[in-house]
Amino acid sequence: MLRTGRFVTFMALAGLMYLYIPIFIMMVLSFNGSRLVSVWGGFSFKWYGELFSNDQLLNAAWLSIRVAGFSATLAVILGTLAGYVLTRFGPFRGRVLMAGMVTAPLVMPEVITGLSLLLLFVAMEDFIGWPQGRSITTIVISHATFCMAYVAIVVQSRLAQMDGVLEEAAQDLGARPWRAFIDVTLPMLAPALISGWLLAFTLSFDDLVISSFVSGPGSSTLPMVIFSKVRLGVSPDVNALATILIGFVGTCVFVYSWRAGRRMRMREDA
């Protein structure tokens, strides 16, 4: 057993502080009464009030949530199909190429992904007239494209752990392959799908680079708005928005791990 000496404790605390102090400072400053970000002017909910009357920020946040939701769902559907084909269809022709191409967006620089997607959309508009201009549609398509790679990896590793014999058993009992997938594979895949969806949601929600390329007028996502505001000087209502988001995410994580822990204990008791 490793003795937790003072040094180890200190290093752990220092590491955690390094990670969380900036966030903590930002949260404290969101309650700052002063207009100057770096000067404490007393406790106040002023910036929260300001935030809820700032249509630009609220619209951007709502847009980002919708984009993240749509693209995460799309990415989960496509990524699951890709992951399933790669793990369950045996060594078909072009399998290695497909595996490489599915995961390539992971390592592709975002600038390149963004630029190439922009060129694609422009060319498509010229040839088939769709998508018309840059809008939420183009952002969703672009985000789904790179998020799908992450989902495919999560699904693939889960499927690799899962025994293919369960699907065979379902087919043996009279289920057509598609039915076996729905009845057996999908329920067992559910944890991977949920974590894949959350991962995709997060990635889409905070993407700045790709969105900047493929968004059009009137479809600025939250990171884009924050980024452009910060260039003109930090405004404290951004702090308030960030604090609300952190509170929301923190609550979700807490509830999820509490429920997961309880499920684990129930399983042990059984």
Partner: protein
């Protein structure tokens, strides 16, 4: 689709085999997993496919289930050609080696799954699932999840799930492989009871020869993708066709010998390994001077302190090692030629008394019908 075993299907006469395997070959790339197998299995038979790993027995089973398509040949079940029929439409169910129970479903949902897919009415599903769980003595566990069951209980659920659709043919892949020895022996007899009760045709794949001998009415031994021998347990044990079968089923002493006399009623072979002559009470249809193999089971050899009458079918030696197994003892005897052979004798007397000890000088002898002459 729902399959019932009741009622003879097309061509279901008594003489017609229930399962007919015709010239089945399966290639995976360059390797031949199953090589031109022909096999007929009768209705209500409990047939065991026995073989080591890589012998092709599991591939053959998977072709019967419909998970693999044969490269050549065809399979008929109850007169119906199964070529191109997918697994989910075959009147066949399988009990998987790992049981493959659905972990997110309760025991009763697992058993009911096949009936739900078959479109059976809800009330009937409930009844048939309950009956089946009662038959495998799992009625009290219907609401449990698979991870809450022991290995033996899972095995019963898997059996119930495979039988509830009343398949014409049940395939069992190493059904008892994951159980411990005592449970395995109990389950063997239960499996036989259920099989004769339902009259379903069973094909069991196993690598365990004891299991095959206990369960099977007939069995087939597979080696390198070929079916080497088919017969009852006694046929395979007493009349193996080659050294592989002799070695695979039970313990055996194998010798190489040269044919020196071959008549319709008897034959003599000279064996350098025992330093004597084997006399067998039948002709072997070979040519004198030909090298042949002899298989001699350990329990067919007798040990005596005094030299028995006659010069043939005897070999002197010294007891090298003794393993006491309770009901019998295995003696390892080093013959004067240096060759070690195994002899088993029943422990008739409870006292050590006259028993042989290590270092005793003994004569091994056997009858003219004890050794099997093998051409290969």
């Amino acid at each position: 689709m729902e399959h019932r075993s009741a009622g003879a299907g097309p061509g279901g006469s008594a003489a017609e085999p229930f399962v007919r395997i015709e010239g089945i070959t399966k290639r995976f790339g360059a390797t031949v997993a199953v090589n031109r197998i022909d096999l007929d299995i009768q209705r209500s038979e409990l047939f065991c496919l026995l073989g080591g790993s890589g012998s092709g027995k599991s591939t053959l089973l998977r072709m019967l289930a419909g998970f693999e398509q044969p490269s050549e040949g065809r399979i008929l079940i109850d007169g119906q050609d199964m070529t191109g029929v997918p697994a989910y439409e075959r009147p066949v169910n399988m009990m998987f080696q790992s049981y493959a129970l659905f972990p997110h479903m309760s025991v009763s949902d697992n058993v009911a799954y096949g009936l739900r897919r078959g479109g059976v009415a809800r009330a009937e599903i409930r009844k048939r699932v309950a009956d089946m769980l009662d038959m495998v003595k799992m009625g009290d566990y219907a609401q449990r999840k698979p991870h809450q069951l022991s290995g033996g209980q899972r095995q019963r659920v898997a059996l119930a799930r495979a039988l509830v659709r009343q398949p014409k043919l049940l395939l069992l892949d190493e059904p008892l492989g994951a159980l411990d020895k005592k449970l395995r022996e109990e389950t063997q007899f239960e499996l036989m009871k259920i099989q004769s009760q339902l009259g379903t045709t069973f094909i069991v794949v196993t690598h365990d020869q004891d299991e095959a001998m206990t369960l099977a009415s007939r069995m087939g031994v597979m080696q390198d993708g070929r079916l080497v021998q088919v017969g009852g347990p006694r046929d395979l044990y007493e009349f193996p066709v080659n050294r592989f079968v002799a070695r695979f089923i039970g313990a055996v002493n194998l010798f190489e010998a040269v044919l020196i006399e071959d008549e319709p009623g008897h034959a003599r072979l000279r064996c350098a390994e025992t330093g004597g002559v084997f006399y067998v009470s039948h002709g072997v249809s070979g040519t004198p001077g030909q090298t042949m193999h002899l298989a001699l089971r350990p329990e067919k050899i007798n040990l005596t302190r005094d030299k028995p009458d006659g010069e043939e079918n005897v070999a002197p030696g010294v007891i090298d090692e003794i393993a006491y197994l309770g009901n019998l003892s295995v003696y390892q005897v080093r013959l004067d030629t240096g060759r070690l052979i195994h002899v088993t004798l029943p422990n008739l007397d409870r006292h050590e008394g006259e028993a042989f000890e290590i270092g005793n000088r003994v004569f091994c002898s056997w009858g003219p019908a004890s050794a099997v002459v093998l051409p290969a």
